[in-house]
């Protein structure tokens, strides 16, 4: 573990911005909210944020991404596209780091999705331990309030300085290259340990049972009337899907230039809550009911992906809860309600 003075940290970030060839992303404020965005200066960084509007997945699975480009004047001329901008992302919270690790598994499963993987491989994640808790978040009870892996560097605020855990060689390399650091002594290490130990208990919102019970709970409650009851209010707006760090479904479309000569195939974020998500060309919609779509998302989070990959696909960030206008998307509330029966 290393130590860096706060003003040195700002210098470090500014050097990254000025010297490092990678683009530097950090958490900035937008209105009363926070976003990940390109940093123009270290002063814009807000490491005290609670949660960002969108998770960092937008850099690895962009809202719209070109997969192919082609030339229609030729009989068949198609080229794969993979626009990779190497990034350094500063200020990722542990739950988002864990979410990215889940996405890694999905995009590496069976067929390697290099559009995602390359972007991940080319980037550096500098995490930060949570200082302010979002009122919607329940990461404390999802086991995602802290993490020991998934980052290249991890910051903990110690007042005048940050403690830095090193998670990878890449992380260590930029630190050595751009930062003035000192080694942390045993006391500091204990202090960081202490701080991390206490984060989980700062969350007011708690799941009333261990998340490991979720798959079984959901299986037993497939026909619970709560789905129907809540879904009556569902706008099918997909906001809960789109802001979620572990949702990755996408749509694919061909877009042709007005000259009809060149075109591209793009993928864009999609969401299982949207009405036409499971509709096929013959008109059949395999998840026509709002309630079926509403339930599907929770089943995915707590059971389906668990069965497939072995993780609970909700990291408790609470973004969906804050994005849902009728206030029905909150997994914590829904899971607790199911548990209570």
């Amino acid at each position: 573990m290393k130590l860096i003075k706060k003003d040195e940290f700002l210098n470090f970030v500014d050097s990254l911005i000025k010297i490092d060839p990678r683009r530097v992303i950090g958490v900035k404020s937008k209105g009363n909210k926070f976003i990940f965005d390109t940093l123009n200066s270290a002063n814009e960084l807000r490491l005290d944020y609670d949660v960002t509007i969108l998770p960092p997945k937008k850099y690895f699975l962009p809202p719209t991404e070109t997969l192919l480009k082609y030339d229609l004047t030729d009989k068949f001329s198609v080229e794969a596209v993979n626009e990779v901008t190497p990034l350094i992302i500063i200020g990722v919270h542990p739950y988002d780091l864990i979410a990215l690790q889940q996405m890694d598994i999905v995009f590496r499963d069976t067929y390697q999705d290099h559009n995602y993987i390359r972007k991940r491989e080319e980037s550096i994640l500098i995490g930060v331990n949570i200082q302010n808790v979002s009122p919607y978040s329940f990461a404390g009870s999802m086991g995602t309030a802290t993490t020991e892996e998934g980052f290249d560097l991890m910051l903990t605020d110690l007042g005048d300085e940050y403690a830095i855990e090193i998670g990878s060689e890449k992380g260590e390399a930029i630190l050595n290259k751009y930062a003035k650091i000192a080694d942390a002594d045993g006391d500091t290490i204990n202090k960081v340990h202490d701080i991390k130990g206490k984060i989980a208990s700062k969350f007011k919102k708690q799941l009333n049972f261990p998340p490991e019970e979720l798959p079984k709970l959901l299986e037993e409650n497939y026909d619970n009337e709560l789905w129907e009851k809540n879904a009556q209010k569902c706008l099918s707006c997909g906001s809960c899907n789109l802001v979620c760090p572990t949702c990755y479904c996408f749509d694919v479309q061909d877009i042709v230039e007005l000259n009809l000569r060149r075109g591209k195939r793009v993928r864009t974020w999609d969401g299982c809550l949207l009405e036409d998500f499971a509709k096929v060309a013959t008109g059949e919609n395999f998840r026509e009911d709002r309630a079926a779509r509403y339930r599907h998302r929770f089943m995915r989070k707590g059971k389906y992906l668990y069965d497939r990959f072995g993780f609970i696909a909700c990291v408790g960030c609470g973004r969906c809860a804050s994005a849902c206008l009728p206030d029905i998307a909150d997994p914590c509330k829904v899971f607790n309600a199911l548990k209570e029966g």
Binding site: N32, P63, L235, G238, Q253, V256, E275
Partner: protein, 248 residues
């Protein structure tokens, strides 16, 4: 063979046709891929031989209805261009009043009874008069979507027009939801395709693209009330662009 394309306008602000001219340099490409045979706003030539008719504006009089039917009979594909044509748009706002009231309010006691120019009825969307094959929503239409529709039709493809709400595009933009800023947004029930332009500019969505196929109006009304509108004001919001859909 290049498809022959014609543009027609009825009661409207002509802002949607203007978006065709707003394609700027791409107009050069446009006329390479289609033959524009009629476009009164921009050209003198006119031909009645066309494959695709873009119709802007809503229908307000029997004489307009006749003209529209003639257009339909000649066109292989008819595309409603813009809110006025697709849903009646802002013109339908006056449908809340009776024809007598509107006429009286505007023309007073003047003798206009037998003048066909003044013979108006409740504003109709194009598909209330003739069959419409495709819709390009928006007030005004979005240039990129218009391009998509034109290229799709030229390639013989059904244009993919979203049937999901504006929130989807708003989230992709990473906006702060305008409800959080004390504004009242119709995005959750309004058809996307505009790139969430209004929320991205910190304004509430006014529903200019009309509603999605299966909107959850009741929930949206509850949300609007939860954030502080009266039910009456919440309903009024919809009238601006979704009068027809709300009166169903």
């Amino acid at each position: 063979m290049k498809p022959k394309v014609a543009f027609f306008d009825f009661a409207s602000c002509e802002g949607c046709q203007l978006q065709v001219l707003n394609l700027e340099e791409s107009i050069i490409e446009l006329i390479e891929i289609v033959d524009v045979v009629s476009f009164r706003e921009a050209m003198k030539e006119h031909s009645d031989d066309y494959d695709i008719a873009f119709v802007e504006g809503s229908i307000a009089r029997p004489m307009d209805e006749e003209r529209l039917k003639k257009i339909r009979s000649k066109a292989k594909i008819l595309v409603a261009l813009g809110a006025c044509a697709c849903t009646g748009g802002i013109n339908a706002l006056r449908n809340q009043y009776s024809i007598e009231m509107v006429k009286k309010g505007v023309y007073g006691d003047a003798d206009i009874e037998n003048n066909p120019y003044f013979d108006v009825f409740h504003t109709k969307a194009v598909d209330e008069v003739v069959e419409v094959d495709y819709y390009v929503y928006g007030c005004p239409v979005d240039k990129d979507e218009l391009t998509k529709v034109i290229t799709s039709l030229a390639l013989g493809k059904r244009p993919e027009i979203p049937n999901y709400p504006v929130c989807v595009e708003c989230k992709k933009e990473g906006n702060v939801c305008v409800f959080e800023e004390g504004k009242f947004c119709l995005g959750p029930v309004t058809r996307a395709g505009c790139g969430a332009r209004c929320p991205s500019n910190n304004n509430a969505c006014e529903g200019c693209r009309g509603l999605v196929d299966n909107p959850n109006i009741n929930s949206e009304l509850e949300v609007l009330q939860k954030y502080g509108l009266t039910l009456e004001d919440a309903l009024e919001r919809f009238k601006m662009f979704c009068y027809r859909e709300m009166s169903k």
